[in-house]
Amino acid sequence: MSEIYQLHVNGESRDVLDASPGESLLYVLRERLGLMGSKGACEQGECGSCSVMLDEQLVCGCLVLAAGAVGQRIVTIEGIAPVGAPSDVQQAFVDAGAVQCGFCTPGLIMATHSLLERSPSPSEMEIREELSGNVCRCTGYGRIIDAVQRVAVARRGVS
């Protein structure tokens, strides 16, 4: 059994061919559309590595059926900034030492962009609570919090 449907990903309409209807959005993004930036580490919504935006809502791509995302605007890590021209959040993660193995990083970048859109000056506790759905095994989170705070400060300086 297979289906053909379209997904709206990073501003483009993409055909999904020969898909089984049971495939998760994460699987389709990675294996059918070649968007490997979203990562799978638990496949049950616990780690946040697969975080993507679905109609401006941060979701775990592993918990969403791809066929159920038809008609919604999907933004993945590849849609945040062109390769080689990192966003302020991406650059801050690198500069602050918030990246080690980097497997959790794309999901955390998505979650951080989402957080700072909604709350430009989050308190440290707000950062911890908002990002607590994203697990990092390398950093112990300290440098990530620093990165988020750096972006918040820099954006205030600009505006």
């Binding site: 638990c42 193995c101 970048i109 697990v135 950093t139």
Partner: protein, 768 residues
């Protein structure tokens, strides 16, 4: 939250940077940071090849059973299945293993742990693989598993493996065995099974050579050359026909030191003649790699009335699980660190690493020393209480110094600033916020988002943990590393097989080359087996070993550069040095940019770094078995809800002996990350087995510290360059996990006034 000045990590590693920033001692940003943050970095699980097939593994549902019959015919009937393999199909050696090759590629007659591989398939889609695995019929005669390691020691359980149930026994007998008291403290300390839980799941892509003459494997591992040796043996191929290329590694922490999917992936690719990719899911990962050894340690300390240790008696029992892996080395690490970072002349220690039908145990950050530290630090607090001094004072009175001996007789000939570490940690500020914070935010309380705790009932405690950790490999093993450096037109290219797992080795490679050679641009070549071994990314060894190799190769290149420049300008080579990005004559007669001095020439040198030789232990556990040591101190502050059994770790303060911080930002990352794993072991992380059956192989049930669980970390880097270390730098990865766990547990004991002797500390341990 650190008081360390990290400076600005401004330099990006794009090859355009040519100033002085980015040299040793600077907080340089990772060269792979931007690709990782943009999602364009390729992890091993992101790799694909034209026409590749998916592979998957059938695993035993039983911890111990005899295989009566395997019928794979059902799998072949499913459309899209391209290969089905079992033990009968292994072309070469049927078993593998890091130290002894006792683990089957596929079980053929007996399965010895829950999740042991029995067969594998290759097919066109993961779902086809799942159906094919379900169609394989395996008839088992279920056996009663050996799950209590004591039954392995006492011989009451028949051997579950031809090599027997005892992997290794070693004793340490030193000094006067008759010393007793006058102060005697005793305890038994247990540690549950911790999983490394790296986020980047096991994944590999194998590409067969035409005609099946060889195979190329892209894999996330810790040691390419060791993998290749084991894979080639199992494939029945010369090592030269097997090329390994490092796939992007999403964390390791010891779990990638052993073979998991490597041989299976290669076999499926060779069998089908097509590229094959295997990617574990989280549940399979919990079954598919080794874990930290569950361990029971009994210790009895004899001390003077002043609290000075006179003799230690100890017994260690490491549960090695079904196969040997590195258990024999973990055992030696554990027992040789019995005394901790304290002076002790007399000891009686017995240690066992045994085989059971539990999951195989092997390497995890801290490697046996975590188990020792949990015990010796519990003992130090008991000793402090017995002689009536505080936890800091008892540790200062016993603190080891350079030149002291381990209970193996080995002289600790490294910088050993134990007393300084304790004092610097004690001087770090305590949390300024009271229980619940001045804002009374319930998120600050134990239980956090559950909002279950009542602020008025919370008690705060403070505890200490101080640790010693050996660096590099031990027991006469020469774990050398190799690097090749090419210098041409002001650009240095560096080749090595050192595995980057996220720790930041590739960052310091550029820093070393820029410092030694004065170059701006440093090119890192592909990390693969097309050069000599780098040894494993483990044992806190790569900065010392592979850093030493890169440094050595750069220095050889620099010597030749100076010879060329000296000849050209009729100067003495010994008068030349690198100043920033210039070659200069110390007499002040010459200053030319390195780029100009190297225009049109190519200098290439390869260097192997070897550490000082080590020895095997004799039958009484005496010998210079270790290479070097690093030290660390931790102070933990916790808030505990005694009624609900909940713990909130509020702060960890630490001073760590780093030798020299080659990249302070990177060092801080290692310290904070290592502490996170220590905190996890203290209060939440345990992979549970009941009668050998794994009960919680998911991230829903195996708990990892989140942003809300991690405390503030306050850090003091103690920099006393070690004379034996290349560049003066000690390995920094493991010490943070060694004594952070006992510090947290000591803080919980302090809060409750209750003895706790097992980690992770569970709510029931607190309430009942």
């Amino acid at each position: 939250m650190t008081d360390t000045d990290l400076g600005t990590a401004a330099a990006t590693f794009d090859g355009t940077h040519s100033g002085l920033a980015g040299r040793l001692g600077d907080s340089v940003a990772r060269p792979d940071g931007v690709p990782k943050a943009q999602g364009s970095y390729q992890f091993s699980g992101d790799l694909t090849a034209d026409g590749f097939l998916w592979g998957a593994t059938l695993r035993s549902p039983h911890p111990y059973a005899r295989i009566v019959r395997i019928d794979v015919s059902g799998a072949w009937k499913i459309d899209g299945v391209a290969a089905v393999i079992t033990a009968e199909d292994v072309p070469g050696k049927a078993t593998y293993g890091l130290i002894s090759q006792d683990q089957p590629v596929f079980a053929s007659d007996i399965v010895r742990f829950h999740g042991e591989p029995v067969a594998a398939v290759a097919a066109d889609h993961p779902e086809t693989c799942r159906r094919a695995l379900a169609a394989i019929v395996v008839e088992y005669e279920v056996l009663t598993p050996l799950t209590d390691p004591e039954q392995a020691v006492d011989g009451s359980f028949p051997p579950i493996h031809p090599d027997g149930n005892i992997v290794r026994h070693q004793r340490i007998i030193r000094g006067d065995q008759s010393i007793e008291g006058p102060i005697i403290v005793e305890g038994t300390y247990e540690m549950g099974r911790q999983d490394q839980a790296f986020l980047g799941l096991e994944a590999a892509l194998a590409i067969p050579a035409p005609g099946g003459a060889g195979v190329e494997l892209y894999v996330a591992t810790q040691w390419l050359h060791e993998d290749r040796k084991q894979i080639a043996a199992c494939l029945g191929m010369p090592e030269d026909n097997v090329r390994l290329v490092l796939g992007g590694v999403g964390g390791a922490f010891g779990a990638r030191e052993d073979i998991s999917l490597q041989v299976h992936t290669c076999m499926l690719a060779l069998r089908t003649g097509r590229p094959v990719k295997i990617q574990y899911d989280r549940a399979e990962s919990f079954h598919g790699h080794v874990h930290r050894h569950p361990c029971t340690v009994w210790m009895r300390h004899h001390a003077g009335t002043d609290g000075r240790i006179r003799r230690i008696e100890a017994r260690f029992l490491f549960d090695g699980g079904a196969y040997a892996s590195t258990s024999s080395a973990v055992l030696i690490n554990g027992i040789t660190h019995t005394q901790g970072p304290y002076q002790c002349e007399n000891a009686t220690v017995h240690g066992w690493a045994v085989r059971t039908n539990n999951l195989p145990s092997g390497a995890m950050r801290g490697f046996g020393v975590v188990q020792a530290a949990f015990a010796h630090e519990g003992q130090m607090d008991k000793l402090a209480a017995a002689v009536g001094v505080d936890p800091v004072e008892i540790r200062l009175r016993n603190a080891m110094q350079r030149g002291d001996r381990l209970i193996t007789g080995q002289v600790v000939d490294n910088v050993a600033p134990v007393a300084r570490l304790i004092r610097e940690t004690a001087a770090l500020p305590l949390p300024t916020q009271p229980v619940g914070g001045t804002d009374h935010d319930p998120m600050r309380l134990p239980g956090g988002a559950g909002r279950t705790a009542d602020e008025r009932h919370i008690v705060r405690g403070i505890g200490w943990g101080v640790g010693i950790k050996n660096l590099m490999y031990s027991e006469a093993f020469d774990d050398f590393s190799t690097a090749r450096v090419r210098l041409a037109d002001g650009v240095a290219s560096v080749k090595f097989a050192t595995v980057e797992v996220g720790q930041g080795f590739i960052t310091i490679v550029g820093q070393i080359a820029r410092t030694v050679l004065g170059v701006g641009e440093v090119v890192l070549e592909t990390i693969d087996t097309q050069i000599g071994s780098a040894g494993s990314t483990s044992a806190s060894r790569q900065t010392w070993m592979s850093g030493g190799a890169v440094d050595g190769a750069c220095r050889l290149v620099r010597e030749r550069l100076f010879e060329l420049v000296a000849a050209k300008y009729q100067l003495a080579a010994v008068q030349l040095e690198i100043d920033g990005t210039d070659v200069v004559d110390t007499l002040g007669t010459l200053r030319i940019p390195v780029a100009e001095a190297t225009a049109g020439i190519l200098i290439e040198e390869t260097f192997e770094h070897h550490h000082v030789p080590t020895e095997d232990l004799d039958e009484d556990g005496q010998g210079n078995c270790h290479t070097a040591f690093a030290f660390v101190a931790h102070r933990a502050v916790v808030d505990v809800d005694p009624e609900l059994g909940l713990v909130k770790v509020v702060q960890i303060a630490t001073a760590q002996d780093v030798g020299r911080a080659l990249n302070p930002l990177s060092v801080v990352g290692q310290i904070e990350g290592g502490i996170a794993q220590g905190v996890g072991l203290a209060v939440m992380e345990e992979l549970l087995q009941v009668n050998g059956i794994v009960k919680n192989a998911t991230f829903t049930d195996y708990l990892l510290p989140t942003f809300l669980d991690m405390p503030d970390v306050v850090i003091s880097l103690v920099e006393e360059p070690d004379p034996h270390a290349p560049m003066g730098a000690k390995g920094v990865g493991e010490p943070p996990t060694v004594s952070s766990t006992p510090a947290v547990v000591a803080a919980i004991r302090d809060a409750l006034g209750k003895d706790l002797h097992r980690v992770p500390v569970r709510p029931s341990d607190i309430c009942f």
